[in-house]
Symmetry: C2
Subunit: 594 residues, 2 copies
Amino acid sequence: MAPALLLDVSPAPRLSKASLALTPPDTPSSTSPATTPAPLLAPWQAISAQKIADREANLQRHPEWRLASPLDPNVKHVASYPFSKLTPREREIVSLDATALTELLAIRHYSAVEVATAFCKSAAVAQDLTNCLTEIFFDEALAQAAELDRHLQETGKTVGPLHGLPVSIKDHVLLDGKDTSTGYASWAYKSVATKDAVVVSLLRKAGAVFYVKTANPQTLLSLETENNIYGRTTNPFNRTLTPGGSSGGESALIACHGSPLGVGTDIGGSIRIPAAHGGLYGLKGSVARLPHAGLLGSHDGMEAIVGCVGPLATSARDLGLFCRVMLQYEPWYIEPPLLNMPWNDDLANGKGLPSKLCFALLSDDQVVLPHPPIRAALECTKQALLAAGHEVVEWKPMDHQQAWDLIAKLYLLDGGREYYETMAESGEPPVTMSKWILDHANGREPYTVAETFRLNADREAFRARCMAHWNATAGVTSTGRPVDAILCPVAPTLAPPHGTTRWWGYTSYWNLVDYPSVVFPTGHLSSEDFSTSRAAELPIAPARNDIERYIRDQWSPQTYNGAPIALQLVGRRHEEEKLLGVLGRLEDAIRTHS
Amino acid sequence: MAPALLLDVSPAPRLSKASLALTPPDTPSSTSPATTPAPLLAPWQAISAQKIADREANLQRHPEWRLASPLDPNVKHVASYPFSKLTPREREIVSLDATALTELLAIRHYSAVEVATAFCKSAAVAQDLTNCLTEIFFDEALAQAAELDRHLQETGKTVGPLHGLPVSIKDHVLLDGKDTSTGYASWAYKSVATKDAVVVSLLRKAGAVFYVKTANPQTLLSLETENNIYGRTTNPFNRTLTPGGSSGGESALIACHGSPLGVGTDIGGSIRIPAAHGGLYGLKGSVARLPHAGLLGSHDGMEAIVGCVGPLATSARDLGLFCRVMLQYEPWYIEPPLLNMPWNDDLANGKGLPSKLCFALLSDDQVVLPHPPIRAALECTKQALLAAGHEVVEWKPMDHQQAWDLIAKLYLLDGGREYYETMAESGEPPVTMSKWILDHANGREPYTVAETFRLNADREAFRARCMAHWNATAGVTSTGRPVDAILCPVAPTLAPPHGTTRWWGYTSYWNLVDYPSVVFPTGHLSSEDFSTSRAAELPIAPARNDIERYIRDQWSPQTYNGAPIALQLVGRRHEEEKLLGVLGRLEDAIRTHS
């Protein structure tokens, strides 16, 4: 089935490979001039050119929403530029979180059309600034919003708890009628969805408005966002940095006020890393707690390590809103693998938690020491928790290198074969970070079935040890209870320069053991302030391994100027509600005591 | 570590293969004379001889509990023979269900020692009659019971909710200090447990008394119970028939009043089939609802299809008791894969269920029509349900042959390699039913990783279709709600003659889709009554396939004389409590209206 979008587009400009994949990251691909007509385009290059032209044509339906002229590529911090195109009321709208928006939409303080318009306008600018979008369908969104306004006016009732809320959707999540190219030139135009993913169908039922899909990297197995269709997505706080990945389009879009709530996915950090690098909140729940059916990706049927759908948002309470709405539809009667576990909203709001909580602090995983601003944020948060009367004990790191070695095998049970086969379909090369992760398989043969059994057993043994490790914290807390949550870094660095992400261990560890984890922002790095006050914090001890050396050598406040700082909170399996409740207490402590 | 038991045994009689594996099924192996001294025993034969000698020595510590002389092998119905060795008070004890026993133990109406003694005596006779036991340690049990009595007397408190309740444990479940040969001669003496399985540790914590482990078949992948260590276990209601498997030792033991509650496991019917063939109750819950860690078996780490631990018992309420006790210990903090889902005892007791329930009746899976007594039991139950005011609609069978073809592949992802390798360690041959199931792989190579991904995806697609099928029943019920449970056969036949089980489809289907299912007894076949009244029910249409032909040709009331009749009730995933609540209503209907 050909996508409807194709019918309207002008002929594709013929772009050379150089003008696409090699576009400088802070020059949006869509505005690149087709300077070098290439008589012999590889299949993937022709596909890329057509997809970019399609996207450009869709943006050009509303030229009045775009910046008057392309931004100087040397301008790094662009997150607030979308405001320049908005009315004061629209600025107000795009500055609210999803919870506030749904409340104000329900009482008709805002119409769905004006909310959709505000976010479409911001999204258009965000795209031109950061290259964060894939499929764009603003007019459909406005029509959907108008229909919702009509419904509310006529019936006096919202269609559901997200009535009129714009929600952005990561590219590989099926949205009926839209292409699902998933970062593969090989899949573009061949993957137009004929139905919604479960998460999308429930959002739709709840009244959400769809207007864009967002960029994800080739293979999805990347903590940056680059692919051969659209090139690289950049970080709006500093475009020389990655917004993270694989939900990096969401990160850049939401950080630019182009969406109040985004749907991401995470199998090694792909929600949490972009949330952190975008100064956002992001939740990776336990496997099968939230709807997951209806995603395209490689390795369908691979179950040794399973990903999760989850929200990226601008407030902690929006994460709870997303979960509550998903589970109120009892999706376990729709999608077989899901757990029949209703959402406990009281607990997510902190009701029933002990007044004194106990946190375990993991500040160094013994593989890669985090950069100084992250250590400083941990210390600052610890002091706030203590000042608020909570307890903070040490989390002794347990075998993080081993955890990475194991999960990297589970990611690549087939030695990467299917990834290479998919790329071969269009002749597209692996992008930088695809090559990096695929090299972990080192060209080996796929594992045998018996070997996969042993790897599964190794994973279970690791999980059992980690559970015992958590239980054993009862021996060091003053209450005699195990700790309530682990406070730790999201990554050893702030948003890295493009192509330099090297250590997943602070996020992938919690995928391996299947613990829910949530990311929350604590501020932004000002290189000027930090250089003078904290440079001395660079460690003196020699690096413990090559990765730590690489990352240590990378440290310089100037590199990360403007980048968001974020931390991670980890809970016990299936205890998403408690985790959010504990996060609420932690944020109370920070607000009051820091 | 050598098992302590070894220290006490007399030298092993030298048994030929003929006197072991070829022992007539109704002649307990342990009493077979070693008629043909074999100068060159294969390793597995020597192991078998030693294990049988060990067991015999343990039985002989209480010769006064055994039948005075071996029973005539031609006597088929032996289930009540254990009574002949019991005092009236002991008969009373072994006739009670676990719920009643725990209540009476808690108020010291019975002492733990007298309860243990009664069941040990029955178990000794059950072993001589049906060959149902593997490890026997009566004296340890009596010491444990004495300790429990002392505790209750001194403190006035029970140690837990199962204080003093004897519980029998299937051989492959780890019990600290005991061998876990698991039906493999190859593993005997090499698999002495150094810790308890989680289920055993929780039972122990709850106050259960351990006294025996029970026979399971070689490979565990069998719905009968035969192995090269002990030979065959027989059905106490008709020893020419199988007690089912793989929890067949439990079936024979509990049916002989040798245990009030047994721990079985089920990956294709291995709790439900022996429960049905023993006239018992048996529950296979959803995967990961009940503790499962600490089992020996082949294919550790295989996750394409996963088994469940569950209870076999003499009442429906005992199934709930078992679940409630397991989950009150929050085992999800002990065993990583378990679901954090507390037990809802009110619902298991029917509280909150609608007064009018709707049942779907699956009477023929379109592969193998059940034998007449099973169809009669379904019809009788249906009439009772209707008379009680419930609704009964038709469950249209959905692709049962396809479900079997798929699950048989998932059982044998490695083409059976690991089974053959394990057998090769001791040179033991596959027993009849091992050969039958292994032949399903037809000697093929192990699947590749990519093929296993596709099989997992096929399984998920099947599950999604089955879920939709259940949801669609809302269109045919009078309430507009989907049906509350499916009523169906457990198997197409009553307990089959040894070595003739040919169709797992009525049980393995629910493993494939991971729905909880429970078996309950409805009576016993009297061939005399049935021959005159029901013989006309044999179907006239030609058999639809070879298996149906085989099973149809097998039908004769005389063959199954005395065999229990049982049916199966199936619920939705993770809804074990509702399933038991619905079973309670169904049994109310039968009691009142049939």
